[in-house]
């Protein structure tokens, strides 16, 4: 599987993302600088985490207006895969490739910890390595991960099974206590209508080796490799 990782000024988890692709798929991804206007011929484009443009104005807003974005849209329109993690998710919502918006955490604090996620749709190209309803561990690290969408959008997401991950407790229950940022209905990750663009706040790329405390994040990359 061939992959590319977009790099915007202020992005800081591009190396983590590249490592995950390398470790799991054995292929080194191509790093693509934001001023490029074309993408290499790859199966997956990852938009990694960080603080593009310092997250000033709005998270992901400035990056979403970069020269590379039209090429990203074209890649998505062609049905190829796009994975946005954390700031990457925020950038994808700002481009309109995914609906909704990510607001300040309800606590107003940045939070870095391990949470549990329930895989609510294991039939996507990003999650086929997981079982439906499986509860996985995954780190989060963000200050603005509070997913919001209007009721119509939410109904659409739910109706089409496009909520892929939700914050849950160890038993898979969606509770307020298990929700680290106030996201509506515990939403941690969604896909677009075509199912080829995933955005998620948690960082699967930081849980792919035993040394990091677990392998639960590998499934995303394994699924993508399978789909390629």
């Amino acid at each position: 599987m061939k992959s590319a990782v977009l790099v915007f000024p202020g992005i800081n988890r591009e190396r983590d993302m590249a490592r995950a692709f390398r470790e799991v798929t054995g292929v080194e991804p191509i790093m693509v600088w934001h001023t490029e206007t074309e993408l290499p011929d790859v199966d997956v484009v990852a938009v990694p985490g960080g603080f593009s443009y310092g997250d000033y104005l709005r998270c992901g807003a400035i990056a979403a207006r970069s020269p590379i974005i039209p090429a990203l849209r074209a890649h998505a329109a062609a049905g190829r895969h796009v994975l946005g993690v954390c700031n990457g998710f925020q950038i994808l919502t700002e481009t309109g490739l995914l609906p909704g918006a990510l607001m300040r955490n309800a606590s107003l604090r940045f939070v870095c910890k391990e949470v549990r996620l329930r895989v609510d749709n294991a039939a996507t190209a990003f999650t086929s390595a997981y079982a439906p309803g499986q509860v996985i561990r995954c780190p989060i690290a963000h200050g603005e991960g509070n997913y919001f969408a209007d009721p119509e959008t939410l109904a659409e997401l739910e109706g089409e099974g496009r909520v892929v991950f939700r914050y849950c407790d160890a038993e898979g229950r969606i509770t307020e206590a298990a929700n680290p940022n106030g996201a509506v209905d515990g939403i941690a990750g969604i896909v677009n209508a075509a199912g080829n663009v995933l955005g998620m706040m948690p960082h699967p790329e930081n849980l792919i080796e035993a040394l990091q405390g677990g392998l639960d994040g590998r499934g995303i990359f394994e699924s993508l490799a399978r789909a390629a």
Binding site: P9, D16, F51, G54, D55, R109, F110, C112, A141, L211
Partner: protein, 582 residues
């Protein structure tokens, strides 16, 4: 003729924190009255913060050498060999006074400063820690300061992209008027790619990089060394605002530039920015340096030479570049959207010359600015030691369960999770031991493959002990850091220190300092942990009440195989607990 349209009055001299005898020393050195700009330059170079005038004598006695030490104190950060052609670069620095005045921005700029110290050496930062001390939990200011400082440490480190893996948080009424914010950073580099601040060659371009210069923190370095009084709020507009985004760009651009081979010398602009960095680069290289301030990128119109020389705007660097590689260097900085300007050149005159609008605003002997800084052997008295308590004299608790609950529920013993959860401690994907244990462990991959090594980090000191007996307390801080590193399976290799004390003009305070340092030094020798970098913060005192003496220690350990690290969690039911030591 030097422009000198502001009269140098005794009041002005005093406002610059210079004592009459120090001013006399200036007159003797330059043989005339200084200009206003020159007075500013002297005050910046000769304040406690930059010159270490009260502490130098004692710092010289610390053990700083060891088989692994590649670079000890004196550069931006210490460098320690960890084998395989790799080295760890680290240092700790305080931002106490600014954090008390504006907790969020004070903490951010503290973290920014220490990160710059590390990447100025050519290292990519791989870990950060923060040692924090606040007033009593029920003191009216404490909550505000804690919230701001913790958010600021996180706000900067998280955005910059370094995992904050450890630290300390303590509360005590003696910090009511002076919180402590000590930031530690460590980075990794190859031993043959270490960058230093020593300028080399005559006629080399001196280049300004990073963010523009504004009137930030005017006289901030002077503030950081001045004892607080109740109208210290008047000093408020000197607050600097941190821009972690600019710093991240500066990191990437600097590392790219260093890799390109264009850099001869590099120095970050910290306290008293342009002044200290330029003087240091020239003086270390036995060269003169001329700056043309017309070229300095400024954020505000109408800045004077005085203001530019003393500005503490953050996220700036000064470099000496190879002349034929300027264009390449500029292209790299433009790519990262940063300012780049040739602002001067090295000379063979040993003079520090500052020009502005075609006029010479300062012309000073460059070596003397550093070398001739006052150095004091301040009078000190033997500290009063608190008597040793016999264990038998301490009554046993009535109810051990209750006592245990009180302990774990007390502000100083309770969980620090609420702090480190606000810090990204997982970024970079190398955190093997997360915060919450004895020491944090970060994976270090070998350049040529093979099983990964580990670096362990811990911050320690128990100020109550140092107060009770400075010598024993100093030893204890080192011993505790040694134990914390050993407990995760690492071999302790070196330390950095951040010596926070009260007003050195009081003999009791210097007495504490001298004895604590003696303890620290002896313990370092006994445990073979040289001190490779550090920082001194004096005048932590409000209305005559000093903080508890707080020589914070940041210690680093090495493990050959990172998979051998051991945590604090019990592994399984039925595990045997063993108590060792006494």
């Amino acid at each position: 003729m030097l422009k000198n349209d502001i009269a140098i009055t005794p009041e002005l001299i005093k406002a610059h924190g210079l004592k009459p005898d120090e001013y006399q020393r200036i007159l003797d050195l330059i043989g005339r009255e200084p200009t206003w700009t020159e007075l500013g330059i002297f005050s910046a170079m000769w304040n406690e913060h930059c010159s270490y005038k009260s502490s130098k004598k004692w710092l010289k006695q610390l053990p700083t050498k060891g088989a692994r030490v590649l670079i000890g104190p004196g550069e931006n950060a210490g460098v320690v060999d960890i084998g395989d052609g790799q080295a760890v670069v680290f240092k700790m620095e305080s931002h106490n006074h600014p954090s008390y005045i504006e907790p969020y921005q004070g903490a951010t700029t503290g973290v920014g400063g220490i990160l710059r110290d590390v990447f100025t050496m050519g290292a990519r930062p791989i870990a950060a820690m923060n040692a924090l001390r606040f007033g009593a939990p029920d003191h009216p200011k404490t909550r505000h300061i804690v919230a701001g400082v913790v958010a600021g440490v996180g706000g900067y480190g998280n955005s910059f992209g370094v995992p904050t893996v450890g630290g300390e948080v303590e509360f005590h009424p003696r910090y009511n008027g002076n919180c402590l914010v000590n930031a530690f950073a460590a980075g990794l580099l190859k031993t043959d790619e270490i960058f230093l601040s020593e300028a080399k060659g005559v006629g080399m371009p001196v280049v300004y990089l990073g963010s523009k210069t504004g009137r930030d923190g005017m006289g901030g370095a002077t503030m950081a060394s001045a004892e607080f009084d109740d109208d210290s709020h008047e000093k408020r507009p000197t607050v600097q605002v941190g821009d972690p985004f600019a710093e991240k760009l500066l990191l990437e651009a600097s590392l790219e530039l260093m890799a390109s081979g264009a850099v001869i010398a590099i120095q970050d602009m910290g306290a008293a920015g342009l002044t200290c960095s330029a003087v240091e680069m020239g003086a270390k290289g036995n060269l003169g340096l001329t700056l043309n301030l017309d070229k300095v990128p400024t954020r505000e119109p109408g800045m004077t030479a005085y203001e530019m020389m003393l500005s503490e705007s953050q996220e700036r660097m000064l470099m000496v570049l190879h002349p034929h590689l300027e264009e390449k260097a500029e292209a790299i900085f433009r790519k990262w959207g940063l300012d780049f300007a040739i602002v001067g050149e090295t000379t063979d005159t040993l003079r520090f010359v500052v020009e502005h609008h075609g006029q010479v605003m300062a012309d000073l002997p460059i070596k003397d600015l550093g070398d001739q800084a006052p150095e004091y052997d301040r009078p000190w008295v033997e500290p009063k030691r608190q008597p040793v308590l016999a264990a038998a004299d301490v009554p046993a608790p009535q109810d051990y369960g209750r006592a245990l609950l009180d302990l774990v529920g007390s502000p100083n013993q309770s969980s620090r999770r609420w702090v480190w959860e606000q810090y990204d401690h997982l970024i970079q994907g190398n955190t093997v031991q997360r915060p919450g244990g004895d020491a944090a462990v970060v994976r270090v991959e070998r350049p040529n493959g093979g099983h990964a090594k580990g670096l362990a980090f811990t911050c320690d000191v128990t100020p109550r002990y140092v107060e009770a007996d400075p010598y024993e307390g100093g030893k204890q801080a080192i011993a505790e850091s040694w134990r914390n590193l050993s407990a995760v399976g690492a071999l302790p290799i070196a330390v950095t220190d951040n010596l926070n004390f009260g007003n050195p003009e009081r003999p009791e305070i210097i007495g504490q300092f001298v004895h604590a340092l003696k303890g620290v030094g002896e313990a370092c020798i006994a445990l073979d942990m040289p001190i490779v970098s550090g920082n001194v913060s004096l005048y932590n005192e409000t209305n005559g009440e000093a903080i508890l003496p707080t020589p914070a220690i940041g210690a680093v350990g090495l493990m050959d195989d990172v998979t051998r690290t051991i945590g604090v969690a019990l592994a399984a039911d039925g595990d045997v607990l063993v108590l060792i030591g006494d």
